[in-house]
Symmetry: C2
Subunit: 122 residues, 2 copies
């Protein structure tokens, strides 16, 4: 079921490459894609580990800045867009996309998937 | 002129609080807002310093992941949305907004302001 949710995020977002459910401890729970490995500069797990650490730092900084809990982080780089949605204190879901994809749709898919993923995790 | 550009970003974005041009070394070049200090949980300069360090880390991670140069980072927290646009290797421009603001407009304003800021800086 986790796999199905991650698959639907990728399949229903234009330009999506891969999706991933990971713990903030860096351990992958489940992932989907890329279906064409040439689409992704690096493995989705490697991307999750790198950016997961950074989202951990952002959560601490946002708390220090009294901005409250971090909900989402989007990173637009030249060759890849990554959107990370915080599922709960322990897990996040990430989506990588091509730079010409539809990040608005990706954000929407992650936002609606997060409670369903949480339900499967508990 | 820098101040004028930063002012127009805030004034033309619904829900915007403050904007800032800062070096990745953590030194503020110029800022605008907040006009109502109660709108911002922390000073825009403090926010810039905290998130500027993080964007520096993201740039290094994106390069390591072969994703190319980082163009933009958006951080959605419970009480504040922050959008950061990389101007060049040395500078970034940041915009803070209320959570119910219009981040799409904010992104557009930063994207179009970046080359104008760069021209003023050189």
């Amino acid at each position: 079921m986790l796999q199905e949710i991650l698959r639907s995020i990728v399949e229903r977002t234009d330009g999506a490459i891969a999706s991933l459910l990971m713990g903030f401890d860096g351990f992958k729970v489940e992932s989907f894609g890329p279906q064409d490995p040439s689409e992704s500069p690096k493995d989705i797990e490697e991307i999750g580990i790198e950016f997961g650490v950074i989202v951990g730092n952002i959560r601490r900084a946002a708390q220090a800045l009294q901005a409250g809990g971090t909900r989402e982080v989007a990173i637009l780089a030249e060759k890849m867009v990554t959107i990370i949605r915080v599922v709960n204190d322990d897990y996040f879901v990430a989506l990588t996309m091509k730079p010409d994809g539809n990040p608005g749709k990706g954000r929407f898919m992650l936002r609606t998937a997060a409670p369903r993923l949480l339900k499967e995790l508990s």
